[in-house]
């Protein structure tokens, strides 16, 4: 926890993280080669790179969906490489919000219930305060009138905004988005991206967005470029928004 004390704003730190698939077999492939990375509260970071560069693998590691082969990953100052599935699952629920390319709303639940899902997983039946919070977030993403609709009854851009509201409902210090605008038209993509900027400013969480759209990446304060498992550039700039 001393790390957290010295870097109060640090949410995530990667220390010489490597990832090797199929180690010890003829199919052995090293995807990430000693990644060092820090993400702090309030940062909106774009992760760009050609396909096959290891973006998704890196995001899986950061999202605690996978564990590094070597190196260490600190989430809120806590080392995670050797933690068990239960601990990682718990940390995911507590500290990370996910937004995926294909929205991944659960079709059996209404829009509002989808937003509440992380809280339901955490502590069962949502309280009225939880529902208040979820409605507030839906309002924030401009979808409060669709609260009782099923995900299949709204458009793709709207579904993605619901997914963002869902990722925010636990007030996570870290928000991860994997090609969140990947299958949206450019106008909708732009508005979703603006939403990321707004929530980043408003909630003060660290946001990491994987994208292949250079225009969207250009809007971010910081852009990390990944090529063949190496970070080739890490640039900070003043946001144009």
């Amino acid at each position: 926890m001393s790390d957290l004390a010295t870097n109060a704003n640090e949410v995530l730190r990667l220390d010489q993280v490597r990832k090797v698939f199929n180690p010890g077999t003829p199919l052995e492939t090293q995807v990430l080669h000693g990644i060092d990375l820090r993400l702090c509260r309030g940062e909106l970071t774009a992760l760009i790179g050609p396909s096959g560069s290891g973006k998704s693998t890196l995001l899986n590691l950061i999202g605690l969906l996978d564990a590094p082969s070597s190196g260490e990953l600190y989430l809120l100052g806590q080392a995670t490489r050797d933690s068990d599935d239960e601990t990682r699952t718990h940390l995911r629920n507590q500290a990370i919000g996910f937004v995926f390319q294909f929205h991944h709303l659960i079709s059996a639940f209404s829009v509002l219930e989808n937003v509440l899902m992380p809280l339901m997983i955490r502590h069962g039946k949502p309280s009225s305060a939880d529902i208040e919070l979820a409605r507030g977030l839906l309002d924030e993403v401009g979808l409060s009138q669709f609260a009782d609709k099923k995900p299949t009854q709204i458009s793709g851009g709207q579904q993605q905004r619901v997914a963002i509201a869902r990722a925010l409902v636990t007030r996570p210090p870290l928000l991860l988005a994997d090609e969140p605008t990947g299958n949206l038209d450019s106008r909708t993509a732009q508005s979703v991206f603006e939403l990321f900027h707004r929530i980043n400013a408003q909630f003060g969480c660290a946001v990491l967005v994987v994208t292949h759209d250079p225009r969207l990446a250009a809007d971010c304060e910081r852009t990390i470029q990944l090529v063949d498992g190496h970070i080739v550039s890490d640039e900070a700039r003043t946001s144009t928004l």
Binding site: N60, G63, L65, D66, D85, E86, T89, H90, L91, R92, N93, Q94, F98, F100, F102, H104, I106, S107, A108, F109, M117, P118, M120, I121, R122, H123, G124, K125, R166
Partner: protein
């Protein structure tokens, strides 16, 4: 409290998943319902049938009969080193009383496994009316006690159950053979000059031809006089609480009293055999129907797990523990079993009622009130067990892979 809260989530997700795949859920529920209906109906039918057969068999006989031991020849012991050749002819078993039968009766009265005790004296006689004659079995009874073994007044078709003071109750067939009605006189000849004339007070029909043609009920005293066994009884009839434990009780009573104890199971061996093979057949049908229902549930859930791979992945990514995913699918199995068997149990119960009202009406099937709830309980447990494999598969998904599943 935490578990209950957490189960609320599992419960909600399980229910929504089932509702979301409505057609699939309805089809499997229908399948489970058919299976449960078959099980409930066949169980009720066979149980009813067996109870009916046993009741009819035992309705006209005691569960255990206590008899005096057979008389055997006694041979003198032979000195060591010497031989004796014995030519033995078995002894004729004369009619004789159970020694100290009052004491035996009192002991049996106290026995917790025995419900009713009735001392009876029985022996052969010739019944005469005019020139017609019929061989009969005289039964001297204490009506109060005897009624608790064979509820004779239930089977009366004319007159009353009155024995003693020169009254007798006879079977329908005998009455027909000798042309007897209520109030008519009947001469009974027990041999060796012992004769008496009785009034017919009642006529019964037990439904077993042999008994209806031969039984003549008198009171104990009159039968004792006729059969020349003053104060004696030849058999003590008993009924037991657990009819299928009658043979064990009989063995115990034989040891206890030193008399011969014959259970109904011994004298109806074939019937018992038939009943147990019938039970085995029913059991097999139930097991196989149960297995096919379980496979149905299992395969439907296996399909559902694959269909929901991405949703399972996203749930895991949002922090749903493996155990929660496991429980979601186990609950679905249990729910399908419960709902299906509730419908099927109702249908099975209805079928039994239809059978009772519109069927061949050979006998009435009573439905044990615990049958349907028990079937539902078993189906629910079966559902949970059948869900185990798909549920484990769902819980083991790697979330990173599952999320990208297309």
């Amino acid at each position: 409290m935490r578990l209950a809260d957490s189960l609320w989530t599992e419960w909600t997700i399980a229910l929504r998943f089932l509702l979301d795949n409505r057609m699939q859920s309805l089809l499997i529920i229908f399948g489970i319902a058919v299976g449960s209906a078959v099980i409930v109906f066949i169980t009720a039918l066979i149980t009813g049938l067996q109870a009916n057969v046993v009741e009819r068999t035992l309705g006209t006989q005691a569960h255990i009969r206590i008899l005096p031991p057979d008389e055997v020849n006694r041979t003198l012991p032979v000195d060591d080193g010497s031989w004796s050749l014995v030519l033995e002819s078995p002894r004729a078993q004369r009619l004789r009383s159970i020694i100290n039968w009052q004491d035996v009766r009192d002991v049996l009265d106290q026995d917790s496994q025995i419900l009713a005790v009735s001392p009876v004296i029985s022996g052969p006689a010739i019944a005469r009316r005019g020139v017609a004659r019929a061989s009969v079995a005289l039964l001297g009874i204490d009506p109060q006690r005897y009624q608790r073994i064979i509820p004779l007044s239930r089977d009366l078709i004319a007159g009353q159950l009155v024995v003693g003071a020169g009254n007798a109750v006879i079977g329908k067939e005998l009455a027909r053979d000798l042309g007897l009605g209520i109030g008519d006189k009947l001469r009974l000849d027990a041999g060796e000059g012992r004769e008496t004339v009785v009034d017919i007070a009642g006529i019964f029909e037990l439904g077993v031809r042999e008994l209806d043609a031969r039984y003549v009920y008198l009171d104990l005293k009159q039968a004792q006089t006729l059969l020349d066994l003053p104060g004696g009884v030849t058999v003590i009839d008993t009924t037991v609480a657990e009819i299928f434990e009658a043979d064990q009780v009989a063995t115990r009573l034989a040891r206890l009293t030193g008399l011969r104890a014959e259970s109904w199971m011994e004298t109806n061996g074939q019937l018992l055999n038939a009943l147990s093979s019938q039970s085995m057949t029913t059991e097999m049908i139930r097991v196989f129907v149960g297995i096919s229902v379980a496979f149905g549930i299992s395969s439907v859930l296996a399909v559902s797990v694959v269909q929901r791979t991405r949703e399972i992945g996203i749930l895991r990514a949002m922090g749903s523990p493996r155990g929660q995913i496991l429980r979601v699918f186990l609950l679905q199995g249990g729910l399908l079993g419960l709902l299906g068997s509730a419908c099927g149990g109702g249908v099975g119960w209805g079928l039994v009622q239809v059978f009772n009202i519109a069927g061949p009406r050979l006998f009435d099937i009573p439905v044990d009130p615990t049958l349907v709830p028990l079937a539902m309980l078993i189906a629910t447990i079966t559902g949970v067990l059948a869900a185990a494999m798909p549920a484990r598969r769902a819980a083991r998904y790697d979330p990173a892979v599952a999320i990208r599943y297309v």
